[in-house]
């Protein structure tokens, strides 16, 4: 089977997305009672997930 083009770049981009979500969640959980931190973390997670759901792969690779 031929490897899909740009697999490495796509892998890396998705890894970056997961890293960003992971960082936000890791800070939010121990600070669950701090609305400012939790709101910011939720907003950051949403931004990342929106970007992934939008699926403009060619833009990710630019």
């Amino acid at each position: 089977m031929t490897q899909a083009p740009n697999t490495v770049e796509l892998d890396e981009h998705l890894k970056d997305c997961i890293t960003a979500v992971h960082g936000a969640v890791n800070l939010a959980i121990p600070n669950i009672k701090d609305d400012k931190i939790v709101d910011q973390a939720l907003q950051d997670c949403r931004e990342v997930l929106d970007l992934v759901m939008e699926g403009k792969v060619s833009e990710w690779l630019e």
């Binding site: 970056d16 890293t19 960003a20 960082g23 800070l27 600070n31």
Partner: protein, 259 residues
């Protein structure tokens, strides 16, 4: 204000650290690494100062290729650039040799403030910042759990048993920050993407103008003789409570002169 952060990239918290029995050193090659939480606090403090007063934040660190991921974390948090001291000749460096290498790299550019963690979370010697300050000829201001810079004056609060001390120094200076000084920010996606375009300057021992026998195994003046596990704790006495449990506890505490 041009700020330098000296921070270590250490084996990731998920990794079980192994010690090489021959060298007594931590096995770092091929192991996942991350930015030391102590360094993350130092980066955070530097970024807050930069956001207030402008300038740059440069991470200066030393280690193998494996540490690039930790450098990228600091850049993704917002550091402007990084210097990665990377040379096989540095393997086995003791604290003083590490300080010499860091000092040589820092001297290459003007700086106002150096921020370090109080100690790294993997080897805990805590002496590199003091040595670094001495080599650079700047005052070391240590154990800050709060810090401000007004004009050219650095002011810190250092926790003490009875409260805190306020310590001031004129810039340029070196400050070590405790882990409780702040909650380091996490790298956001934009920061992670931007970090890929930021400069990581790699420097070798030769680039630093150091002789090979000043660093690494050859230059080390301290040697780790033994690395061992802490002794196992003895199993305590198990007492079945047959109605006399309270008395047994009181007797035990009296014997230990606690009551």
């Amino acid at each position: 204000m041009d700020i330098v952060v000296c921070g270590k990239i250490i084996p990731a918290s998920t990794v079980t650290v192994e010690i090489d029995p021959a060298t007594k050193r931590m096995i770092r090659k091929g192991v996942a690494h991350e930015l030391d939480p102590a360094a993350a606090s130092a980066v955070e403090e530097a970024l807050r100062l930069m956001e207030k007063a402008g300038g740059t934040v440069t991470l200066v660190t030393m280690g193998f290729n494996e540490i690039t991921i930790g450098i990228r974390t600091a850049l993704a948090m917002g550091a402007t650039s990084a210097v990665h001291i990377f040379d096989d000749a540095l393997a086995g460096s003791d604290a003083l040799a590490t300080a010499k290498a860091l000092a040589a790299a820092i001297r290459k550019k003007p700086f106002d403030l150096i921020i370090c963690g109080t100690e790294s979370s993997d080897s805990y010697s805590g002496i590199v910042p003091g040595q670094l300050a001495r080599l650079l000829g700047v005052p070391p201001v240590t154990f800050a759990n709060e810090m401000t810079v007004e004009g050219s004056t650095l002011s810190i609060k250092r926790q003490s048993e009875t409260g805190y001390d306020v310590v001031e120094a004129e810039l340029p200076a070196l400050v070590t920050v405790t882990s409780g000084i702040n909650e380091p920010r996490y790298p956001q996606l934009k920061g992670i993407m931007a970090a890929k375009r930021k400069e990581i300057l790699q420097m070798s021992v030769e680039d630093l103008g150091l002789a090979a026998d000043e660093v690494g195994e050859q230059g080390a003046r301290e040697k780790v003789l033994e690395v061992g596990r802490p002794p196992k704790r003895e199993v305590g006495e198990v007492v079945e409570d047959d109605g006399e449990g309270g008395k047994r506890i009181a007797d035990f505490l009296a014997e230990a002169k606690v009551i």
